[in-house]
Subunit: 461 residues, 3 copies
Amino acid sequence: MNKNSSNTMALTPNTPNKRETVCIFGTGDFGRALGHKMIQSGYPVVFGSRSAQTSSLLPKDAEVLSHAEAAQKAAVIIIAIQRQHYNFLAPLAEILHGKVLVDISNNLKINQYPESNAEYLAQLVPGAKVVKAFNTVSAWALQSGTLDASRQVFVCGDDVEAKQMVMDIVRALGLTPLDQGSLLAAQEIENYPLQLFPMWKFPIYLSLGLTAFFFFYCLALDVIYPYIYENKDFSFFIAISIPNKVCPILALILLALVYLPGVLAAIIQLYRGTKYRRFPDWLDKWMLCRKQLGLVALAFASVHVLYTLVIPIRSYVRWRISSYTVSQALNNKTSPLDITNAWLSDSYVALGILGFFLFVLLGITSLPSVSNNVNWREFRFVQSKLGYLTLILCTAHTLVYGGKWFLNPSSYKWYLPHAYMLSLIVPCAVLVVKFVLIFPCIDKPLTQIRQGWERNPRYSA
Amino acid sequence: MNKNSSNTMALTPNTPNKRETVCIFGTGDFGRALGHKMIQSGYPVVFGSRSAQTSSLLPKDAEVLSHAEAAQKAAVIIIAIQRQHYNFLAPLAEILHGKVLVDISNNLKINQYPESNAEYLAQLVPGAKVVKAFNTVSAWALQSGTLDASRQVFVCGDDVEAKQMVMDIVRALGLTPLDQGSLLAAQEIENYPLQLFPMWKFPIYLSLGLTAFFFFYCLALDVIYPYIYENKDFSFFIAISIPNKVCPILALILLALVYLPGVLAAIIQLYRGTKYRRFPDWLDKWMLCRKQLGLVALAFASVHVLYTLVIPIRSYVRWRISSYTVSQALNNKTSPLDITNAWLSDSYVALGILGFFLFVLLGITSLPSVSNNVNWREFRFVQSKLGYLTLILCTAHTLVYGGKWFLNPSSYKWYLPHAYMLSLIVPCAVLVVKFVLIFPCIDKPLTQIRQGWERNPRYSA
Amino acid sequence: MNKNSSNTMALTPNTPNKRETVCIFGTGDFGRALGHKMIQSGYPVVFGSRSAQTSSLLPKDAEVLSHAEAAQKAAVIIIAIQRQHYNFLAPLAEILHGKVLVDISNNLKINQYPESNAEYLAQLVPGAKVVKAFNTVSAWALQSGTLDASRQVFVCGDDVEAKQMVMDIVRALGLTPLDQGSLLAAQEIENYPLQLFPMWKFPIYLSLGLTAFFFFYCLALDVIYPYIYENKDFSFFIAISIPNKVCPILALILLALVYLPGVLAAIIQLYRGTKYRRFPDWLDKWMLCRKQLGLVALAFASVHVLYTLVIPIRSYVRWRISSYTVSQALNNKTSPLDITNAWLSDSYVALGILGFFLFVLLGITSLPSVSNNVNWREFRFVQSKLGYLTLILCTAHTLVYGGKWFLNPSSYKWYLPHAYMLSLIVPCAVLVVKFVLIFPCIDKPLTQIRQGWERNPRYSA
């Protein structure tokens, strides 16, 4: 067998004891880091460089040659060069014909160029098989071996064989290749490492907006109102008292917003009489970020728990309790235990604890490694059954906590309702509609629709 | 090379630039979702359908043909049809001969049919190579791309080659194939998605039973007894006080039950003088659900912590402390600090905190992604050494908390011991036996037995 | 094709319906467990044993032959024998020629022998292709199927093809092979299961040392000092009060130590004017254990939170508050609310809660399964931006908490500063230097250096 036909050779499994040589164009940080890692994994590595002289930073076992010479030695060539300098590859087109070119480049901005770097490379060297890979891995992570961020390497390319060769290299380096399809996916792969929590944007902006609204609402009622009408300085409420009103309100509203799209979808399906029409776009997007919404709600709930538990060590609370006790002692009276009050107080605390406990459980099952270990039925059981139970408990917690204020006219300062009353609107609406939806006369047609039955088959035409 | 010999072709790696065509029988939800995903991953897809007309819901790039025509175009045929309609495949037996048939069906109940759907399919089309796969993935998850539940696809089949082809497809779709062996495993694979936390059943039923017992036990002693004999209404204890007795009791008992089977196993091995005989079945099962027992115990412990931390904000507790302070003030006396009491109170709280902290640590290391990153020695160190330390700390916490009541006759209402005394039986027994087992004169023969030595070799014959 | 040339056959994919026979030398625990698992996964298994008689413990479907006979039946031979008995393999060298020998042995101590067991095996049987694998899996885990510890199987060997065959077997058993390169890696692979949290050693020893120092420092100032000068017995402070000073001090110092090496690295790079020189060894090591340092800090912070939240249920605290209230009542005076004090108290509590919340968030993102699902930019955003925010909040929490004591001479007992003042040194230093580093006039050259620019190019020659 001819040793020089390296391109096809990479696929023949009979070469004994040796992996195929890999060529790396470019001796920058990432090229060097990748070279080191490949040599460790048993690949002979040859660097292609403008100045074919060995640098002290390059791995010792690697050869450094001119681009043309290096390319001839290997079937797979990794292009560790920035996109701006790709045009030097055009003159090498003949040598690169039939080779596998691995584009590992990243951009500085999302959609910086009209076409992806990998597609641009494929246009420049039409005879080569371009594969996009490795762009999600950082040089530092490769070098230090602590791949704390992702071990996943997205791979795409039009040539299945070439992609397979690259995926084998990825696996040999201890990373996990994920085939993303044809080179059309390169744009998305190049954008991926530039994204900053895209799925979290909507939940976070929404909660920031709601936080601001409720913060100023509470500020007006709890700090400004007493300052104007009673001349009392409660400005220090800004640190704990007001956040501890805003947090539970947001936790409850966001939790309800997790279950609202499901309820809306059921209503839409019932109205249309078919499941074979797409939901409106906003509903689709909303459904896809339910997990994130729920986790943001859990964050608010956790902070609420902490804020609540520190109540007894707040200096203001200690002063208030102490003053009350002293005034009782001075007035020489002891109030008897109010059983109703004890019941109410203990009930809402207990409901809150159980609701929070289930909420944390939901959060734990949404950890990727946990959700990978449950089957679909178990996942739905937790996220749907336990989820609604959590919503019921948390809503009940809020109702029992503040129910007495609904009928108390003094709680309507400036004719505005108490902030926590506003927080009950969405969860109560969701629970009432859900309650209606599980009535047999409504649940039955809905189940039929979800199994594929259509009330009005012309819709699906 | 003949393009029509698609069956063998799938294995030759030289087909350039193209994946092998995959055929899907059935245009239902799952068939369509799978088709979409496969086209995304670069597979040409052809649908086999009774009415060979394109629906607007099918992927645009997919062909729709009659079953027979579609089958001829591909080596791999995915049967996205319910088991009841499988018999239409029998007349196609000739065309399907030598093809890879992928059974993706699920049932509605565990063990619904005597044989698995995949085996039934293999009987119907004897010449085909049947592979079971994809039944654990949901259509919705495939479509939305949010594979929050499992990415794992169990694969089984009698033909290694056919299985390999299917596993390659699974991998190309970004899922993780898990080879489960021959087609005999299909029954188990089909039951898997119908299971609802099978490993959790025993721990949860056990803890529900114990919860009910201790709840009514405490109810009798703490609410009914004072109501009858002292005419006091402590019914509101149901919300927090009693649960906060039941939770720590259950946490301690369940934690001890995690370590009891290990101790029993050691005793059995010592008695038998060999490790080469199977443990009784109940012990084996018990050992396999220790992790779940421990996590349920952790759940009870967490709720106990929350219930304890809210004590100072309970209206009843505030009233009690305030009454006590007022009565002191009215009686014009100040009690000095009771150092012993301060020591006891601080000690049991500190022991509880440390025990709970270690318990949470144990819980974190049992997360799949964490336990995958520790080696066997580290895992055993955490689960065994730290586990026993947790048990010791939690038992000490309970002993210090209530030790004073053991000798106090007034705590034996109705001649019954205090509930928390009952909770100490199992953990103390486990700790005492474990303490005996680490004595050198007992530890040495046990270690020998575990390394393979037999006191009485005839047993293993 | 000749059925007996089993060695090359393993690679031809055309053998229908059957996996290749695997031979296992040794019928001990691990050999049997592996045999069982392989038969389950469809491999014919033949055991090689001195006494070629079937034991009741061996899998029923397995053949038991003499070593020589068994070896001839398979291309892959698993050596489930301890290293001390390897020399019996030397006479079999001819039969083993060209076979794949899988060394699965472990030692009892790290670096027990000068060369790894696998290399020793390769010397004994020079004609065989030795592959190291399976040593990280335990027999018990294989048998019970609960692979709670690692599913990862490290594989290394000089022959790529042989390694591939072993990795295929590993995958077929439902485990994850990780290629570690040539047989030189065997030493490290054999040491791996003997390690006990090597990356955690430094953080844990460091924190133990600091804990001891601060514990005795606080003991001297808070217990011994009042005992000597005021004759007060505060010995019970050992249980909660002192640990609750030591824990936050350690959490803050360790958190600052996570960010100190990054700051030092920036200073070194600025001073050298290049990033192309290695950092000193201690800095490299420090940087690699930052995650562990951070998690230990989080553990201390969590215990601090628990210790703080139980304050109101401590008997000492209840006594103190009650005494104070009684004395107020007896003196017939009510103190008005001190707004400044309320502000300070609420502020440091709120800062602490937010800091702890972010800290927990950092901890969650360091879970392997979570960090695998974020890209590099998101990981850096969380660990760097949110990390510094956490450090700022925690430092502010400490400053606000105890700022008043700095100027109070009575807090300098024995002319020693309060312990928590010592804890502020490192975090304040880190924050000040970091603040200087983000000044444009310093940030700009630093960014240039990190992008590859060199002030003094001769360094990199």
